[in-house]
């Protein structure tokens, strides 16, 4: 069974936000509207953070896509009182929506701040309701949600491979963000397969595992030239 992981090359990312749009469309992530967003109630499975490095006139901006990193030792899993979030055998931190009772403890525990709470019933202005993906549940008021690594796509590819009686090929599973990225900055694959692109990238000297010092064991890692400054860590954008 594969153990899924993701590599994000921030040297390639140009901040176009195509991944964000793709993620929202694929996963039925509702828009909160400006008023709700202003008070921190926007739902985001994936955001592109903007990090400004250097001092004028030598300034550059880095863009860092941030989503659930599907920790090996996930704090959210440990604090959920009803086990609505748990680790699957193939290494995802799954969120089971009907089980969630909305304590928001997981949101508090998550050091990556990538979990969102549904403060209201989701709605889509016509005709956007026609874009709802039937492979993904529409979440409801009072529960938490987050990136699933597009588990529905993993399941579909798994079904296809099982039908054809073969293993899943490297690069066959593509989450929506990876598929949409024009710079091919996001790579998804089996991190236990030494031949997979993700495994090979994980040996790069450019690897940085976000907030690794907390012992979370993130399964999403970044590739970035040079050292991370304090300004360059996910969650510390301007």
């Amino acid at each position: 069974m594969p153990k899924w992981g993701m590599a994000i090359d921030v040297d390639r990312c140009n901040g176009c936000n195509a991944c964000v749009v793709a993620c929202r469309t694929e996963n039925n992530v509702p828009t909160a509207g400006p008023d709700q967003a202003k008070i921190g109630r926007a739902i985001e499975w994936l955001r592109v953070e903007r990090h400004i490095e250097g001092e004028f006139p030598n300034v550059r901006v880095r863009f860092v896509p941030v989503m659930c990193v599907h920790c090996d030792e996930a704090p959210c899993v440990k604090v959920c009182p009803v086990s609505a979030t748990y680790e699957t055998p193939d290494g995802l931190n799954a969120q089971i929506h009907p089980r969630c009772i909305g304590t928001r403890a997981c949101g508090q525990a998550c050091p990556y701040t990538v979990r969102s709470f549904n403060w209201s019933e989701p709605s889509w202005e016509a005709p956007l309701e026609q874009t709802i993906n039937p492979d993904v549940a529409v979440r409801w008021k009072g529960i938490m949600e987050k990136c699933t690594f597009c588990v529905q796509r993993i399941r579909r590819t798994n079904d296809q491979a099982r039908t054809e009686e073969r293993e899943i090929r490297d690069g066959e599973v593509q989450p929506a963000c990876a598929q949409a990225c024009p710079a091919q900055a996001i790579v998804f694959g089996d991190r236990e397969d030494p031949e997979s692109t993700v495994s090979k990238l994980s040996e790069s000297p450019r690897v940085d595992r976000p907030l690794e010092e907390l012992g979370t064991g993130p399964r999403v890692f970044y590739l970035r030239e040079g050292d991370w400054g304090d300004s360059g860590r996910p969650g510390s954008s301007d």
């Binding site: 699957t88 055998p89 799954a94 929506h97 009907p98 089980r99 529905q152």
Partner: protein
């Protein structure tokens, strides 16, 4: 005196609670429901005529959904059959076909939107149709066999050593 006067109101309250309870349970558990269909279709007749389930439910072993037959599937056979006696239901098939409309069959089974089910894998695991759909093949009126609950699914998955990982069925 006070006790006598309060007795009827207690009875009325009790009856009201009972009525509401029955009404709620009738709404929330509708196994055995048999909604009126646009055409009085008998599964029994078709099974007795040795028509395999897959003739009409053509995707049952290939896709997630088994498929509800198009009106053309009905016409394919019935246009070559002379009814023994006049049957308005048979006439209605051709009315739909001539009007270029599909028969608006009423679904018996619908799972919650946060779950998904795949017929294909259950057929491959040699689960008989009757396990979930009951004796629909020998009945003249399509009736909901049961309302599927998670523990029922899980008991079978556990005994058959199928996956019990939550995301196998939850989406």
């Amino acid at each position: 005196m006070l006790q006598l006067r309060s007795t009827p109101s207690v009875l009325i309250l009790g009856a009201a609670v009972l009525f509401i309870g029955v009404a709620i349970s009738a709404c929330s558990s509708d196994a055995g429901a048999s909604p009126d269909q646009p055409i009085a279709f008998s599964h029994r007749l078709h099974v007795e005529n040795e028509i395999d389930c897959s003739y009409c439910h053509e995707y049952y072993d290939r896709y997630a959904v088994a498929g509800i037959p198009r009106v053309s599937v009905c016409v394919d056979c019935h246009e070559f059959m002379e009814p023994v006696e006049p049957n308005p239901d048979l006439d209605r098939i051709f009315e739909f076909a001539d009007a270029g409309k599909e028969i608006p069959w009423v679904r018996l089974y619908e799972l919650p939107q946060y779950t998904h089910f795949n017929h294909k894998w259950h057929i491959q695991a040699e689960v008989e149709c009757q396990v979930c759909h009951g004796d629909i093949g020998i009945s003249d009126r399509a009736t909901r066999h049961m309302v599927y609950k998670m523990d029922w699914c899980l008991s079978c998955h556990e005994s058959q050593q199928a996956s019990v990982d939550c995301v196998t069925c939850h989406k």
